[in-house]
């Protein structure tokens, strides 16, 4: 192994940090350093390519545009529009999917019958429905909302159905034999059993939906982060595009860390099952 790698692997940076009261904060320091290095490399690459700043933005131009867009009230509007679309699309899609999932799931026969169809419709990737929606409804926010609902509904529905089918019939029979009504069967047996599946489907759906949102806005919207990203390219002002992209990243990380992950953790902790991490 080369000496540099050898030095790093021997733990020298930590030994050094140990001498200063920095050891505890190493992860944070390194994390910030990582960003700093990437930004520096970015700046260097911009200088190396020598393209106009309108075609290849520099960190400074992006920062400047960021401030500018806030000053002009443009960025907040795009962010809130995107957020509103995303939240409503995900909410409606989830409700529709859960209702359908429980409905289908009540009867194993029905569930087994519908599963291949759901699977096939799921295979027709959500993004490929957008041309059809545009054909039907023209360009506009309706199409995006519809696409989002579709994108979220299918993973959730599919996972709910498979979850319902995986509930051992024995449990349902046992509860029924104790005199449970249909509603009680749903509440006590089915819903808890499919919760982990639901969470997986929800996480997948939320992730796909975010990308579908941007895709939809690039194609069919006049506001929103996707539109901002596209407008920047159209106006040949790529700093705008990068501001849109960074806002996207921040928005997703916010949503994921503040809402999605705690929700998943709470659900799975309660039912004590091993969680799947990553893309789900």
């Amino acid at each position: 192994m080369s000496t540099a790698a050898g030095v790093i692997q021997s733990g020298a940076p930590w030994a050094l940090a140990g001498r200063l009261p920095l050891r505890r904060h190493m992860p944070l320091i390194l994390g910030i350093a990582g960003f700093a290095i990437v930004i520096a490399l970015w700046e260097i690459s911009a200088l190396a390519f020598g393209l106009s700043v309108r075609l290849y933005p520099t960190p400074l131009s992006v920062l400047h545009t960021f401030v500018d867009l806030i000053r002009k009230g443009i960025l907040p509007v795009h962010v809130t529009d995107s957020l509103a679309r995303y939240v409503s699309g995900v909410a409606i899609g989830t409700v529709v999917a859960v209702v359908l999932g429980v409905l289908f799931g009540l009867n194993r026969f029905v569930a087994r019958m519908m599963l291949p169809l759901v699977n096939f419709l799921y295979a027709i990737v959500e993004v490929s429905w957008i041309p059809l929606f545009v054909l039907w409804f023209g360009y506009g926010p309706k199409v995006i909302l519809l696409a989002l609902i579709y994108v979220v509904a299918f993973p959730v529905l599919f996972n709910c159905l498979t979850g319902v089918l995986s509930v051992p019939q024995v449990y349902v029979n046992a509860v029924r034999s104790l005199g449970a009504t249909r509603a009680q069967v749903i509440r006590q047996v089915i819903l808890p059993a499919i919760l982990p599946n639901f969470m997986t489907g929800f996480r997948v759906g939320a992730g796909f939906a975010f990308r579908a949102l941007v895709f939809g806005e690039v194609i069919a919207a006049q506001t929103g982060l996707g539109f901002l990203i596209f407008e920047g390219a159209q106006m040949q002002d790529t700093s705008r595009t990068v501001v849109g992209m960074i806002s996207m990243g921040v928005l997703w990380l916010f949503f994921d860390r503040v809402y999605l992950r705690p929700l998943e953790r709470a659900t799975l902790e309660r039912w004590g099952m091993i969680a799947g991490e990553g893309q789900g």
Partner: protein
């Protein structure tokens, strides 16, 4: 689920955001009333139609397509320069809402040319 839920991250963050949003609404309402006073509204009224105003929207920057589109939604554009846009036939409600926007410096009655 117990009271611990209330202290959880999603709930706390949502409450904080809600507080910020309310604070912004409050501030913008006050600022809006300051930018477009009732006296100015009276002066800006169109002849014969007190419900519609002719106003000059003053901006701290050069307006771009984004702003033109929004302004055209609420009134007829009657000219613009590097830092303002003239609008005719704006309803009082829309004018007040516009005044609340933080990116609008000021709204003054449009002086007849």
């Amino acid at each position: 689920m117990n009271a611990g839920v209330l202290k959880s991250r999603p709930v706390l963050v949502t409450l904080a955001l809600a507080a910020l949003v309310f604070a912004y609404w409050g501030w913008s309402a006050l600022a809006g009333a300051h930018k477009l006073t009732d006296a100015e509204i009276a002066r800006a009224a169109e002849d014969g139609n007190p419900g519609r105003l002719d106003i000059k929207v003053v901006l701290p920057f050069t307006p771009e397509q984004f702003h033109f589109m929004r302004l055209q939604d609420i009134g007829r554009m009657a000219g613009a320069d590097a830092s303002s846009v003239n609008l005719r036939g704006v309803s009082v409600k829309a004018a007040r809402a516009l005044a609340r926007r933080y990116w609008v410096s000021d709204i003054v009655p449009l002086e007849p040319q």
